[in-house]
Amino acid sequence: MGDVKLAFIVTKPPYKSENPKLAATHAMAYQTVEILLEEGQTVTPALCYVGDGVLNCLKGQKAMEQYGITSTETHLKNCLLVDLDVYVCKEDLEKFGISEDMIVDAEDMGAEKKIQVVPFETIKKVIEDANHLLYF
C-alpha cells in the first residue's frame, strides 16, 4: 500500500493525562517516517479533537509557566506548521461555549494551515476514510 491514512482521535482534556500531547507528537512523526519506509510509501495523519478533547485547542495555554513543559498549544502550532490536517468538532466547541477566535492558530509562526472547525459528520467521514484509528 502506498499511502496509509491514520485518524488520531483525541477525546481527553489536556494536562489531566499525557495522552492528548502524545496524539499530537505521534501524528507529527509522519514528517520523518519516510526514513523507515520504502520509496512511494507515505503516512497521512489527520488529528481530530472531539468531546472533552476540544479543550486542547484553546489558545493562551500557560503550561510552561505552570508546569515547566511545552504546551499542547505549541504542539498544535507545530502540527499546523508541518501542514498536518487538524479538525475540531464544532458541536463540542459550542457545548463548551468556545468560539473560533479562542482556537489555536499558528499565524505568528507563518503557518498556512488552520485548525478546521467542522461538524461531527465531517470527523466521522475522516474516520471512515482512515485505514487505522488511533484513539487517545
Partner: protein, 119 residues
C-alpha cells in the same frame, strides 16, 4: 499470516492494559502472525530490567523476554523512556529504542492495529 501492531500507552502497574497487550501478542504469535509492540507514554517505563515479581503487581519482564524469543518485535519511545529515568544499560536487552515514526512505519506495514491508550 498477518501482521499486528499493538501500541500500548498504559503503565505496567496501574491497570491490566499492559497484561492484556502481552497476552494478545502471545495469542497472535502462537497463531503464526507477526506482532510488533510499541511502548509510549507510561508504558515506556516498562522496559526496565530486574523487575521484582511481587504477586500483587503485574510483572512484565519475564513474559516480554519470552515473547521476544518467539519473534515479538518490541520498541520503546526513546524520549518517553529517558524522561522516566531509564537509560539503555538499565533496559531489557532486545527492546529497540526509537522515535515515534517507528510506530507509524510499523502501522504502515500492518494488517491490523490495536492502539491501547494510557490512563
Amino acid at each position: 499470516m498477518g501482521t499486528l501492531t499493538i501500541g500500548i500507552f498504559s503503565s505496567l502497574v496501574g491497570s491490566m492494559n499492559y497484561d492484556f497487550a502481552l497476552k494478545l501478542a502471545e495469542a497472535a504469535l502462537e497463531k503464526g502472525h507477526k506482532v510488533n509492540l510499541w511502548f509510549s507514554g507510561n508504558a515506556a517505563g516498562s522496559p526496565k530490567k530486574n523487575q521484582k515479581h511481587l504477586k500483587d503487581y503485574s510483572h512484565g519482564e519475564t513474559p516480554l523476554r519470552k515473547l521476544m524469543e518467539k519473534g515479538l518485535e518490541v520498541c520503546t519511545c526513546e524520549a518517553c523512556t529517558l524522561a522516566r529515568g531509564i537509560q539503555k544499560p538499565d533496559a531489557i536487552e532486545g527492546v529497540q529504542w526509537n522515535a515515534m515514526h517507528w510506530y507509524l512505519a510499523k502501522i504502515h506495514g500492518s494488517d491490523r492495529v490495536l492502539h491501547i491508550g494510557g490512563e
